[in-house]
Symmetry: C2
Subunit: 246 residues, 2 copies
DNA sequence: AAGTGGTCTAGACCACGCG
DNA sequence: GCGTGGTCTAGACCACTTC
């Protein structure tokens, strides 16, 4: 049950040491070099072996504990979680909430307009009702099959949107390129039945079950920069997440 | 924009200092004492003021950053997130995945039996096909209205289940009382249409949209201890989560 | 140049589980 | 009693932003 484990870190890399270690451990776990149930050596030994301090070693392991790959028990030790841990929805990534299951994703813009914000949108974006916002509707498809219907609102003051680049780069990339930083997103996930329009656009029967998601994204100082409502075909999409007890 | 903020910690409490600080800050934010957009004093000053070391102060703030209440920016400072942060599904809690929206929850056991594990269940629980597992089906209601249909499997080797205590205490409490520790859960959330039986039990029309959730829970050494599939009425239930960029 | 958060170290002591 | 993870300290240097 001991962990031989050939790890190495580059102290001159700009990548933080704890991140290098976490990455190396994660790779070892995902490749099966550290099979489920393996007991790791204790933190002090591991730290010494890599010429790291214990806090740095711990910080690396903390990440993997939160990601659900390791389990720690005081007085006992640390083990690799014993089950086929499917790659979970990476909570670290806001970049793309679509798992590209092999296919090539494309996006079509159905509508793009500057409109005055209604009360609810203004509230969500921290604006006054009537302030101008972009309102956009898009369909995302993989392999030609429609998968998601996305409706979003963005304050006009934050960036400029145009149809072509939206389809090319995506909303987030476009906004990021104009200096918007995404830091946080609050999401709500539920289920709704497809109405006539949604059904037609997604290629399902009216009444079909859809995964519904509403989101508000905030920038690096906590200001709302985007809000939206997405629906996904329930037969082709789901969210994964890992809960950790602490 | 300065933060006066009257904080205090008890160095003799068994509660970790970083947790006391995080709790105090969270309370101050949720009560509005620290309104959205407030800039906090820098970490060193805050640490000094509480007679704490900077790492301890940082650890407290890390928690709130992950929870989506604070936002940090290098070279600039730390601010309270600027939006009505609704109380999010506490990722820290596995105890109850139901938001008791005022109502009083009750649970009815529809079925409880010891059966040999089928292939899929055995796989999920790390058993061999044919090993004995409890199979249980329950309906959870609030205010007399059915809300969720829960189907679960538990290895018989881990605990003993009986109908009465299941209804009284719930599955997790019952297992915990028998020494099972819950550490991790992997969940998948999607949408399905209600079949005839689900519709009847939940009091909705067949075909109605349901939130579907499958979960496998692991104990403190990463062994699977429970797996299950729940469906919730889509018109009464949703999941909330906060994503953080790091 | 000054101020901020980001990282890292080298210790220390404690609480818990186990033999 | 011993080994483990859990917590905490008092520094240090760096990277980045702002003025």
């Amino acid at each position: 049950m001991a962990a031989p484990l050939r790890l190495a870190v580059d102290k001159n890399s700009p990548v933080p040491l704890y991140h290098q270690v976490a990455q190396a451990l994660e790779d070892a776990i995902r490749t099966g070099e550290l099979p489920p149930g393996t007991k790791l050596d204790n933190e002090i030994d591991l730290a010494n072996r890599l010429n790291l301090s214990r806090p740095t070693m711990r910080k690396a392991m903390d990440q993997l504990v939160r990601a659900g790959l390791l389990v720690r028990k005081r007085g006992v030790g640390t083990q690799v979680v014993g089950s086929q841990v499917r790659r979970s929805l990476e909570l670290s990534s806001l970049h793309d909430d679509l798992r590209s299951s092999g296919g090539s994703p494309t996006t079509a813009v159905l509508g793009l307009a500057r409109v005055p914000a209604d009360e609810e949108t203004a509230q969500l974006l921290g604006l006054s009702p009537g302030d101008e916002v972009y309102h956009l509707r898009r369909v995302r498809s993989t392999d030609g099959e429609p998968l998601a219907l996305m409706e979003n609102w963005v304050p006009c003051s934050r960036c400029e949107l145009d149809r072509e680049r939206l389809e090319q780069d995506g909303l987030y990339a476009l906004m990021r390129a104009q200096g918007v930083t995404f830091q946080l997103a609050h999401q709500r996930v539920g289920a709704v039945a497809a109405d006539e329009e949604q059904a037609a656009l997604l290629g399902v029967e009216p009444g079909a079950a859809l995964v519904s998601m509403t989101r508000t994204a905030l920038d690096d100082v906590g200001r709302p920069v985007e809000t939206g409502h997405h629906v996904y075909r329930g037969d082709k999409y789901s969210f994964e997440l890992t809960l950790v007890q602490h």
